[in-house]
């Protein structure tokens, strides 16, 4: 697959796209994991959503 004299520019563009979109996807996955972990930790501490049953301690 000969990409001709300017092959480096083709590879550079595809590399830029892969890196940027790859980075974006990685960040989204990482951020998602963080939020779920924080949510789980809060649930463990018994902090329910207002919709759920009110937290025991009212003081």
């Amino acid at each position: 697959m000969d990409l001709g004299p300017h092959a480096v520019f083709i590879w550079a563009s595809y590399a830029a796209v892969t890196v940027t979109i790859g980075g974006l996807i990685a960040w989204i996955v990482y951020d998602g994991a963080n939020q779920r972990a924080a949510l789980a930790e809060l649930e463990d501490r018994g902090v329910r959503r207002r919709g759920g049953k009110p937290t025991g301690t009212s003081l």
């Binding site: 563009s13 998602g32 949510l39 809060l42 301690t57 009212s58």
Partner: protein, 252 residues
């Protein structure tokens, strides 16, 4: 149209629907892009003028298209937030901005890398490239404004106002840049009419990229909904831990 957005309005409902949709959209995007790449590298003919460098078009055009489409999506979400107070409108706008900015940046990078072999310089003040550059500034403005305001509710609405102002002024900017471009330079035909044999791979790549965007946008929105739920719980927890004497502290 109203009922569809209304039904999705409630975040929990959105989380369910997007939860089931996301894997399918992501899979479809991956499949299409893979197939597109195969077509681009093994099937599509080189351009009679540019030779193989036309392969850059297959990622430049989808990126530029998504850059503009995302700004349109942010404008619609902003309108939904300010006029209909749709609860998910800001989640959509906030999630879309960084992705849109990324695609705009990619459009600029690939445009510049494509320009080097064609015109010998990395940057040409061509009307379209210049408009994409200005679009990038509008994205930066949106993200900078949102990040420099503490109160989330205010930040959301102010960013929405800026997005709508940007949308109103964009056509005027486009017109001015095109006028300015013809004033100083003979018009450079950026992409000559796309040869039919190249149109099919380009379409596949464009649809693949759009599905990829939808998948990323949905995932980012889901993260945002979770982030707001975490924040709400923290606020609630802070209120219930207040050490003030009983009668003064907020009960529930």
């Amino acid at each position: 149209m109203q009922s569809w957005t209304q039904r999705l309005a409630n975040p929990t409902r959105f989380m369910q629907v997007s939860g089931t949709l996301l894997p399918w959209v992501a899979a479809a995007a991956a499949a299409l892009i893979a197939y597109g790449l195969y077509l681009v590298f093994f099937v599509a003919p080189p351009d009679y003028q540019q030779g193989e460098t036309v392969k850059i078009m297959y990622i430049h055009v989808p990126s530029a298209w998504l850059a503009l489409m995302t700004y349109g999506l942010i404008a619609i979400s902003s309108f939904g937030l300010l006029v209909f107070r749709h609860p998910l409108a800001d989640v959509s706008a906030k999630a879309a901005a960084p992705i849109g900015a990324a695609f705009t940046l990619l459009a600029l990078i690939t445009g510049s890398l494509w320009g080097k072999p064609m015109w010998g310089t990395y940057w040409v003040w061509d009307a379209r490239l210049t408009s994409v550059l200005i679009l990038f500034f509008l994205y930066l403005g949106l993200m900078a404004l949102r990040s420099s305001l503490d109160d989330e509710g205010t930040a959301a609405k102010l960013t929405a106002v800026l997005a709508l102002v940007g949308t109103a002024i964009l056509p005027i900017i486009k017109f001015s840049v095109e006028w300015w471009n013809t004033l100083h330079q003979p018009s450079t035909n950026f992409t000559s009419t796309v040869d039919p044999s190249m149109r099919w791979p380009l379409l596949i790549m464009a649809v693949g990229f759009t599905l990829l965007f939808i998948a990323m946008h949905l995932a980012a929105m889901r993260n945002e909904v979770l982030r707001r739920r975490v924040k709400a719980l923290r606020l609630q927890e802070a209120a219930s831990r207040d050490g003030l004497p009983a009668h003064a502290s907020a009960a529930e």
